[in-house]
Subunit: 355 residues, 2 copies
């Protein structure tokens, strides 16, 4: 016989944050917390609850014209003697307080409190965010249960100092292989130096002027960078091959196909292979629900330049932003900590938005 | 009791070539052949014989105004079921026939036959030529017994199709380290891309016009080539370092200091380290003895572009050329072979030169 850890969704949001942190939930060990979340949500008659592995989805079905999604991951990076949590001078200390049990606590409190929200709401709590992308629980839901994730706008509760960080840039890595002809360096004119020829690729990179387009009101900043170069066989051979790996970060007004076409045009004449690719995500701040949310936050949203899980929503056509309590610079740190006021403020903003 | 293998210096030069080849003498195993050479030379009253390890030096001291040096290595690369040698249709087949027992046989025959040569002659037979440079027996003599190697002109009996290949080019390898500042590729403008900056080094290499100077009547051809490039830490980091290894081949009118100064001027502003360096060697064809020798050979000498042991003589101030029977393209091959006529021709030319 096993017993499920109980969490109390009627407790205040700071206590609930602490309770969630105090359940061991390092990536791969999310069963206990997922069971607790499922048990608590199943007690709420206004929600339909679904489960896949250690990911829980709960949703209202009130027939509202718009549906919003609130999503947070349940796992943390390994603890560093920083559990159980402690509340000191209005700050909650411990692993997970920032990344991202405070966000989860806010969403769970909303799930319990809002029996008749203004928009239909889908709450998503998922596993394996802090490890290899192929294990990511949100990615698994996107692949296997995309119908659980339909909606008009999504908020990922990652720490953002309670500012809206909108969308995310796409990322693509290509490999350019420059060929040469091997020869002895004493007679180098018998060959063709692949490293020298790779200079033409570096010329393109050095001359590149990245776009800084405005998408849905947010200004992005693209980038094109060599991240690795290797060439040369031995000290006494003119190299016959040089490879350059290039990372392209592109604003969410382009999809991967457009980004690839851009790179192929830029490096026309070179042998190009796409090594990996992850699409960006539009912030979707032109949607009325999103606009209303941004107004309630009261501080101007900024563009998210790095790639985040919001792009998984984008692949389903759902625009998304990051919004959550806590300073992201404290995530994964030994002294991870979150002001209680931040958690309460996020709770307040979201409650007003959805009521 | 050990017995020394005997070689007969009165045999014809082709038979002597075969006898030398048939004594096992892969690099590191030269004792038997060195003993045989020493024994044979010590039987010649007109020569003084010296030994260091498995290197033998024998010399006349007739008070001639000029001294020439004839040098050959005694070791071979490993055999490939191509011993003992066989003579078929005027061609000697087997390991060492080209590289370079035929040259050794010619020099040994001359040592025995020329009791009163026109110039004083120093004969050098040495070990460990086919392995790491630090083991090279000629290099050891240069370091430990430079007085054994004084002279006005030296001939290295390496296979050269019995054409004079004069001097050799110097070689220098430098490492240029280009620094950058690491950053996340999503915010690459916070850093500085070391691979992109390395493009400036490649610019110099691509624009470089190598000199083709004439030195002592022979035309050399320099070169400047990247032989290795590496940069980049990971797919998601703007690289903070890129290193480029560059090989410079330079004509023997420059010494290593001049070559280094040239590179430091060329890559001014970059962090440069000299990784290795070996000086070139002037052909010395302006010396009367050398000019006479070239005339006897009857075919125009060519510049040696690769680095060879002749440069070890150059470090002692002795100009040197390569001249020996056999096609160098057959050296180290399983079907290594040398026409008897080549050996006899080399023997004939050198005999006429020194008589």
């Amino acid at each position: 016989m096993t017993s499920t850890t109980a969490i109390d969704l009627t407790a205040d949001v700071v206590s609930l944050t602490q309770a969630l942190c105090d359940i061991p939930s390092v990536s791969g060990e999310e069963k206990e917390i997922a069971d607790a979340v499922e048990l608590a949500l199943r007690a709420l008659p206004h929600l339909e609850v679904l489960r896949d592995g250690d990911a829980i989805v709960a949703r209202t079905s009130l027939g509202r014209p718009s549906r919003v999604i609130l999503a947070g991951h349940l796992d943390t990076v390994p603890i560093a003697a920083n559990l159980p949590t402690r509340l000191e001078d209005g700050v909650v200390h411990g692993r997970g307080t920032v990344d991202m049990k405070a966000g989860d606590a806010v969403f769970l409190k909303l799930a319990a409190a809002l029996t008749a929200p203004k928009y239909d709401v889908t709450y998503v709590f998922y596993d394996h965010e802090e490890v290899a992308a192929r294990l990511n629980g949100l990615g698994r839901l996107v692949r296997e249960h995309p119908e659980w994730l339909t909606g008009d706008f999504a908020i990922l509760g990652e720490p953002s100092n309670a500012i809206v960080e909108g969308g995310c840039q796409g990322t693509m890595r290509i490999k350019i292989t420059v060929a040469g002809v091997a020869a002895h360096p004493a007679r180098s004119w018998m060959g063709s130096n692949a490293i020298h020829s790779a200079g033409a690729v570096l010329d393109v990179l050095r001359a590149y002027e990245p776009r800084q387009p405005v998408v849905d009101g947010l200004q992005y900043h693209e980038g094109l960078n060599a991240v690795k170069i290797e060439g040369g066989i031995a000290g006494n051979v003119i190299p016959d091959e040089c490879t350059i790996y290039i990372n392209h970060r592109y604003a969410p007004d382009r999809d991967p196909a457009a980004a690839e076409a851009h790179l192929r045009e830029l490096f026309a004449g070179h042998e190009i292979e796409v090594v990996d690719s992850a699409p960006g995500a539009r912030p979707g701040l032109d949607h009325p629900a999103a606009r209303e949310f941004v107004e309630l936050v009261g501080r101007p949203p900024t563009a998210k330049l790095g790639w985040t899980d919001v792009s998984r929503f984008s692949s389903l056509g759902v625009p998304a932003v990051n919004f959550g309590p806590g300073d992201p610079l404290l995530a994964h740190k030994d002294d991870e900590r979150c002001p209680a006021a931040d958690i309460e403020s996020a709770m307040h903003i979201l409650t007003r938005w959805l009521s």
